[in-house]
C-alpha cells in the first residue's frame, strides 16, 4: 500500500535523488555522444574501421550491467567515475550506429551536388551531411537516453543510482512506497526525456516535418 505521508515527508530526498539521476544520465549520454561522434567520424573517413569499432561497442553492450559495475569497483571504487564508465560504454553502440547510419543516409546526389558546387570536404560534412544526419542522430540520442535512465537504477549497486538508491533502500527496509515511487519517477523521467528530445529533434529539422501546403 502506498503511504502518501512518507512521500510528503521525503520530498526533499526524492528531489535530490531525481536530480542525481538526471545528472548521471546527462553526463553519461553527453560523454557517450562526444566519444561516439569521434568514432563515427573515424568510420566516415575510413570505412574499414566500421567493423572493429562497432564490434567493440557491441561487446561492451552485451556485458551484463551488474557484472560490469561489480568488475569496475576494484579499479575505480564505489564512485561516480565507475558509474559513468559503465553507463557511457552502453551508449556507444546505439549512438555510433545511428550517427553512422545518418551520415550514410545522405543521398548520393546531394553529396555530388555539394562537391560539384565547390564545397570543401570539411564544409560539406558540417553544412550538408551533418544536418541531414540529424534526424537519425536525434533518434539515437533518444534511445540512448531512455536506456541510460534505466541503467542508472542498476548503478545503485555501487551507490550511484539516483532514484535507484531510493528503490534499493525501499527493498531493504520493506518500504513498498519507496519502491513504487522510485519506479514511477524513473518511468516519468524517461518519458519526459524522450518527449523533450523528440521536440528538440523537430525543432532542429524543420525540413523533415510533414509538408504544409
Amino acid at each position: 500500500m502506498i503511504r502518501w505521508e512518507w512521500i510528503a515527508s521525503n520530498v526533499d530526498q526524492l528531489a535530490d535523488a531525481t536530480l542525481d539521476h538526471v545528472v548521471l544520465t546527462a553526463v553519461a549520454v553527453g560523454v557517450g555522444f562526444v566519444i561516439s561522434f569521434g568514432l563515427s567520424v573515424l568510420i566516415y573517413r575510413n570505412r574499414r574501421l566500421a567493423g572493429p569499432i562497432t564490434g567493440t561497442a557491441g561487446v561492451l553492450y552485451t556485458i551484463p550491467s551488474l557484472a560490469l559495475f561489480a568488475f569496475l569497483v576494484p579499479f575505480t571504487g564505489l564512485s561516480f567515475l565507475s558509474a559513468q564508465i559503465g553507463l557511457v560504454s552502453y551508449t556507444l553502440l546505439i549512438l555510433v550506429r545511428n550517427i553512422v547510419a545518418g551520415l550514410d543516409g545522405v543521398p548520393a546526389d546531394v553529396r555530388e551536388a555539394a562537391d560539384g558546387m565547390g564545397y570543401g570536404r570539411a564544409r560539406r560534412f558540417l553544412a550538408v551531411e551533418l544536418p541531414l544526419a540529424l534526424p537519425l542522430i536525434v533518434a539515437g540520442l533518444r534511445v540512448a537516453t531512455v536506456t541510460t535512465i534505466g541503467l542508472v537504477m542498476v548503478a545503485a549497486v555501487i551507490g550511484q543510482g539516483g532514484l535507484g538508491q531510493v528503490m534499493v533502500r525501499g527493498f531493504n527496509f520493506r518500504n513498498d512506497t519507496a519502491v513504487y515511487t522510485g519506479a514511477v519517477l524513473i518511468v516519468a523521467l524517461a518519458v519526459v526525456a524522450d518527449l523533450l528530445l523528440a521536440g528538440v529533434g523537430r525543432l532542429v529539422t524543420p525540413w523533415s516535418r510533414p509538408r504544409s501546403r
Partner: protein, 420 residues
C-alpha cells in the same frame, strides 16, 4: 560586381583519356574515355550524346574534376583545369544533375544561394540574387523562397537546380541529363524555357543526354560518343543528321532523320504571314475593311499591348459599334520565334488548326505560321542531302517491317483459333 556582364568561356578537350581498371576481365570498363579532343566555343551549347557507358558523363565530370583524367588536358579559356584549385574551379562552373541534388534541409532560396554563400557574398546580396534567379526560372519568389525541396514537384525542383547552377553567374554550365527525371511534357517545357534563357545568358554549356532528339534540339554542337569512349562524330546537329560519319552514328540518330531535321529549323527561319488584327474596342467597320481581300476572312483580336485574345470571323464583325471580346473564339496555338518547326507542326496538328500565332517575348503578335509553310520548307530541304549509309538503312527498314508483319501474322491465327 553584380552587374558585370556575364562572360562565357571556351572549353577544349585535348587528347583526354580516362581508363578504369576493369578488374581482370579483358572487357573495357564502362564510362571510360578514349583520346577525346573537341573544342566548344564560348557561348555555345555542346551536347555529349551516346548510349549508356559511352563515357559522356565521365567526360563532363572531368571538366569540374569530379573525375580526374588519366591523361590529356581540359582547357578552360586556355587554362588547364588541372592547375586550378579544385573548389575555386568548381565554384566557377554551374553544375546541374538529373536527380537535382537539392539540399533537403535548406529552403529554396538558401539552395539557390549556395555558391554565392560559398563565395562569401554578403547575406542581403545572396537573398536578392536568389529571388532574382527564381523569377528567371519562372518560380514566383514570394511563393517558393521559403519552402523546402520536399514540398516541390519534380519539374519545380529541376528549375531550382538550374537557378542554383546560375547563381554566381558562371561562364560555364555542366548539365548531366538535367531534364531526364521529369515527364515528357514538363521536359519539353523545361527544354524550351532553357533555350530561351540561354539566348540571354549565352553561357558555354556542356550538356549530357542519351536522347538523340534532345541532343538535336538543345545542341549548337553535338558530340556523338560510342561505347569505349571514342568520339564518333562532332558537328552541328544538321551536319550529323545530313551526313552521319559512320554506320554507328547513322543507326544512333535513327531512321527518321528527315523529320528530325525539322526540329532544327525554327519559326524565325520562315517568313511569317502578316496577321490582320483588330484592337479590342476598335470600331468594327474599320476592322472589317481590313479583312477585305485577305485570303483568310478572320481578324485576330488583340489587346492594347498587341497580345492576341482570339479570332473573330469576318461575318461576326458588325457594321458599327466596337469589336468586343465576346465575338472571339478560342485561339490557335501560340508559337514564338524559337519554337522548332517540328514542335510547331505537332502543335498545329494537335490543335487541328491550319494557322498558329507567333508572338514575341512580351506576348505581342508578330505574325502567323501555317501548316502549308512548314510543308513547303520540308519540300525545299527534302532530297537535298544524300545520306551516307542510306542503302543499309532502307534494307533495315524493310526488315523491320517484315518482322512486324511476322508478329502480326503470328498473332492472327491464335485469335482465329480462339474464335473458332
Amino acid at each position: 560586381m553584380p552587374d558585370a556582364p556575364s562572360r562565357a568561356a571556351t572549353v577544349e578537350f585535348r587528347h583526354v583519356t580516362k581508363r578504369y581498371d576493369a578488374g581482370g576481365g579483358g572487357k573495357r570498363a564502362l564510362g571510360a574515355v578514349n583520346d577525346l579532343s573537341l573544342s566548344v566555343p564560348a557561348g555555345k551549347i555542346c551536347v555529349l550524346v551516346g548510349p549508356s557507358g559511352c563515357g559522356k558523363t565521365t567526360s563532363l565530370k572531368m571538366v569540374n574534376r569530379l573525375i580526374e583524367p588519366t591523361s590529356g588536358q581540359i582547357l578552360i579559356d586556355g587554362v588547364d583545369a588541372a592547375t586550378r584549385e579544385v573548389t575555386e574551379l568548381r565554384r566557377g562552373i554551374g553544375y546541374v544533375i538529373q536527380q537535382v541534388g537539392l539540399f533537403p534541409h535548406q529552403t529554396i532560396a538558401q539552395n539557390v544561394a549556395t555558391v554565392p554563400r560559398l563565395l562569401g557574398w554578403p547575406g542581403p546580396r545572396q537573398r536578392e540574387r536568389a529571388e532574382e534567379l527564381l523569377a528567371t526560372v519562372g518560380l514566383e519568389p514570394a511563393r517558393y523562397r521559403d519552402r523546402f525541396p520536399a514540398q516541390l514537384s519534380g519539374g519545380e525542383r529541376q528549375r531550382v537546380g538550374v537557378a542554383r547552377a546560375l547563381a554566381a553567374d558562371p561562364p560555364i554550365m555542366l548539365m548531366d541529363e538535367p531534364f531526364g527525371a521529369v515527364d515528357p511534357i514538363v521536359r519539353e517545357r523545361l527544354q524550351n524555357e532553357f533555350l530561351r534563357l540561354q539566348e540571354e545568358l549565352a553561357k558555354t554549356i556542356l550538356f549530357v543526354t542519351h536522347d538523340i532528339d534532345e541532343a538535336i534540339k538543345m545542341g549548337d554542337l553535338v558530340a556523338v560518343l560510342q561505347v569505349g569512349g571514342t568520339l564518333a562524330q562532332f558537328g552541328r546537329p544538321d551536319e550529323i543528321l545530313a551526313s552521319p560519319a559512320s554506320e554507328f552514328v547513322a543507326r544512333f540518330v535513327g531512321a527518321d532523320r528527315g523529320l528530325k531535321r525539322l526540329s532544327l529549323s525554327r519559326v524565325s527561319s520562315l517568313e511569317l504571314r502578316p496577321a490582320v488584327t483588330a484592337r479590342l474596342g476598335e470600331d468594327a467597320a474599320t476592322a472589317r475593311r481590313r479583312i477585305v481581300g485577305e485570303p483568310i476572312p478572320w481578324v485576330l483580336l488583340v489587346d492594347a499591348d498587341n497580345r492576341p485574345i482570339g479570332w473573330v470571323s469576318g461575318m461576326d464583325v458588325g457594321a458599327r459599334g466596337p469589336v468586343t471580346e465576346s465575338m472571339a473564339i478560342p485561339m490557335s496555338p501560340l508559337l514564338n520565334r524559337r519554337t522548332t518547326l517540328k514542335d510547331a507542326l505537332s502543335m498545329l496538328l494537335g490543335a487541328d488548326v491550319q494557322v498558329g500565332i507567333v508572338v514575341d517575348r512580351t506576348g505581342a503578335v508578330v505574325g502567323l505560321l501555317s501548316v502549308d509553310m512548314i510543308a513547303e520548307r520540308m519540300r525545299d530541304t527534302a532530297g537535298e542531302a544524300q545520306y551516307a549509309g542510306a542503302a543499309t538503312e532502307l534494307v533495315r527498314d524493310a526488315e523491320d517491317r517484315t518482322d512486324d508483319d511476322d508478329a502480326d501474322g503470328a498473332v492472327a491465327p491464335v485469335n482465329e483459333a480462339v474464335e473458332a
